[in-house]
Symmetry: C2
Amino acid sequence: MKLALVGIGKIALDQHLPALKSSPDWDLAATVSRRGTVDGVEAFTDLTTMLEARSDIGAVSLCLPPVPRFDAAQAVLRAGRHLMLEKPPGATLAEVHALCNLARAQGVTIYATWHSRMAMAVGAARDWLAGRTVQEGRITWREDVRKWHPGQDWIFEAGGMGVFDPGINALSILTEILPQPVRLLSADLDYPANRQAPIAARLQFSQNIAADFDFRQQGPQTWDMEFRTDGGRMALRMGGNRLEIDGRPVQGGDDIMGEYPALYARMAALVAAGESDADLAPMVLVADAFTLGRRNIVADFHF
Amino acid sequence: MKLALVGIGKIALDQHLPALKSSPDWDLAATVSRRGTVDGVEAFTDLTTMLEARSDIGAVSLCLPPVPRFDAAQAVLRAGRHLMLEKPPGATLAEVHALCNLARAQGVTIYATWHSRMAMAVGAARDWLAGRTVQEGRITWREDVRKWHPGQDWIFEAGGMGVFDPGINALSILTEILPQPVRLLSADLDYPANRQAPIAARLQFSQNIAADFDFRQQGPQTWDMEFRTDGGRMALRMGGNRLEIDGRPVQGGDDIMGEYPALYARMAALVAAGESDADLAPMVLVADAFTLGRRNIVADFHF
């Protein structure tokens, strides 16, 4: 099946292109980007032009920041094409509800992807937690925004999500593996004095689960989740790629390149089955954190 | 049917008690409040005690602020009683999803009320807009927090909603009367330097609809919505109680005391039918405003 990739930036080059190259399902038939191109693939700078020119392309994958994503997503669905969305699927919940309604009306697939749910050990973690009761959970998600989003000022603008851009990956895993849904009880959000989105956040959830998100981590990066249950201890490390039970490694490795190939395989399966997948639970928890959060002003941040 | 009222504060005294006194459906059989009581009605200070002592009471109406509301709501549902919630139905979206799931599992009614939807002219406004296209909308919701919430510091705490406490009334009307759902495009939120919730907000929605919420209005209070459509102009004034078409008053008056009786009548109908009603659209728009909003710091506020 032919697919167009919209937004040829860092995540497209790092993850989407390698995944598409190795995909048995998808043929990258066009790109749309103001500047970026891919060797040997027809390049457009305007989405509407591409949709009109290439009626042979049945699916579009969007790798745009959340704020400009809606207009593009709406254009894709209105043109009757299947739609795959990078996380988060939009800047607001209401707009994603609107996209889901539009996809349903158009009879096409919408897939709101959460790449971290495809990390190697997430399925095994979910299976292990099933039937157990969580007594305590601790999420530590600390990475260096300068390394992963160099110079991307949009991430600290209003609606850019700040530290929730990586933090929502943790929440996408949490909402996938827990036997019972969590609620947010309180949140502390640290805003740099010169920015409109938080650079760090501490969240307290029900089930005695706490999260510590920080975008200022230098040196080793940490993407860990640790749980104490009535049936032992479990830890997911490396962003869901390594599983430990009672301190003993049982699954996983260092290869984090399997997530996007799994997303594209799932997209192909959804299109083939005529189904959609748009679970907004991680995004609801982020909206709840912004609604409920106590705001603290911290030092200016400059890339 | 017997009902207990929990939280005997300003809104309970001003609205719930008169509505219950005139209700043909409900008998106020108990109150739960730290301090407040109602003459001639058994008074409890603890919800759990009331639920255990009064198994004859089948429904509970909660008039607590949003943050402490969840634990009480959960206790009511776990005790197998029907539940009616003041607006907003919770401090977070995830907790209201959890309450809805619990009500379904328990086989009882949950009713997330939006009293402004019961204002006299809202139904007529919805009927008039049906089949018309909105070209422009302007919402002005300006009231004096010192008059309506005297000394209620919780309203400016994290999760207290600030100006969205009245603003969500406007959004509950908007989402009720529009033929097409709206999305939030941008938001400006004014936070007093000494508070954790906004005192004013300016919102821009799709369909060329803008809202101006302000909690610092002295003198005349304004709760107006004006729409220009392809079929003429419409205005809803006095919080949904007066309808004007093309500048001419066509319905309504000054009596705003019909909203809560209508809520209790609807609650009785829901219980009788074994149904629930929990439309979160107004709350989603508020969560979206907190997520997407640009924060401005303004002068300290003191009651």
